[in-house]
Symmetry: C2
């Protein structure tokens, strides 16, 4: 059972960072296609993608957004956070197999428990693929909880 713990507003400090790593798999792209409804062949069909300017399949841009949101929800500030806003710039394509590092940094503590975070994603070559900022309502109280296990789901 995975336990996660948050960092309440009062404990957050400017410059505080968290990062997670994630390799983008073919399965990730297929699941994102299913849940978003975007089954464009540039993401799913290697032969089709070879004829595009990208030369190979690329992940959906917003899959990286999903990873940023999970890093916020799980790590900084973590459980009990409420997502208020997110800006994203998609700087470079993410290819299947790319190993991504999602980095969060506390930029500013705002009134009413709100915080502004830098949200940056780098590939294995250390090139930024996404940059942006999030605004989050940070949790007031310390919270430590178990992540929920998923039931079996069949796709495709």
């Amino acid at each position: 059972m995975s336990l996660v713990e948050n960092i309440p507003y009062d404990e957050l400090q400017i410059g505080q960072c968290a990062s997670i790593e994630r390799t983008v798999s073919e399965r990730d792209v297929q699941l994102f296609a299913e849940v978003s409804g975007d089954r464009n062949p540039v993401h799913l069909d290697a032969e089709y993608a070879a004829g595009t300017p990208f030369k190979e399949r690329i992940a959906h841009g917003m899959l990286t957004g999903a990873l940023i949101s999970a890093a916020i929800a799980g790590h900084l500030p973590g459980p009990g956070s409420v997502y208020l806003g997110q800006n994203l710039r998609f700087l470079r394509p993410v290819k299947l197999g790319d190993q991504l590092r999602i980095e969060l940094e506390v930029l500013e503590k705002l009134p009413k428990q709100r915080v502004r975070l830098a949200t940056r994603v780098f590939n294995a070559q250390n090139k930024a693929v996404v940059e942006g900022e999030a605004e989050v309502l940070a949790p007031k109280d310390k919270l430590r909880l178990a992540l929920t296990a998923l039931p079996p789901i069949q796709v495709g």
Copy 2:
């Protein structure tokens, strides 16, 4: 086989709109938890969620971002678009079973085939749950293509 068609840059007009509807199911939230890695019980565990300020399970905020990205990729401008940026404000929680309407509108045509879109999401009570803007590199050429079928995938 689903066919989709794009609207090339030269055919896009200021004020042009597209919208899709989507009911957020428990399965959607479970799949988004799997692909993002955010298995926070506020999204997945009805009993836990009943004790939160939301009183019931809510969808991940970025699931709505995924639906916006799919509307852009599939409808306006559609296939061949390149996602450059997205701003999101999460205004209200999305509950499981909520019927969402994702609305896109061309706000501005920029140089070098870029367009700025309003991206708004409403619930069945016609309340805005997300608002924001996207910047997209619109396709130069007309494109009509078949969406890719997904292979079987097992989750959980």
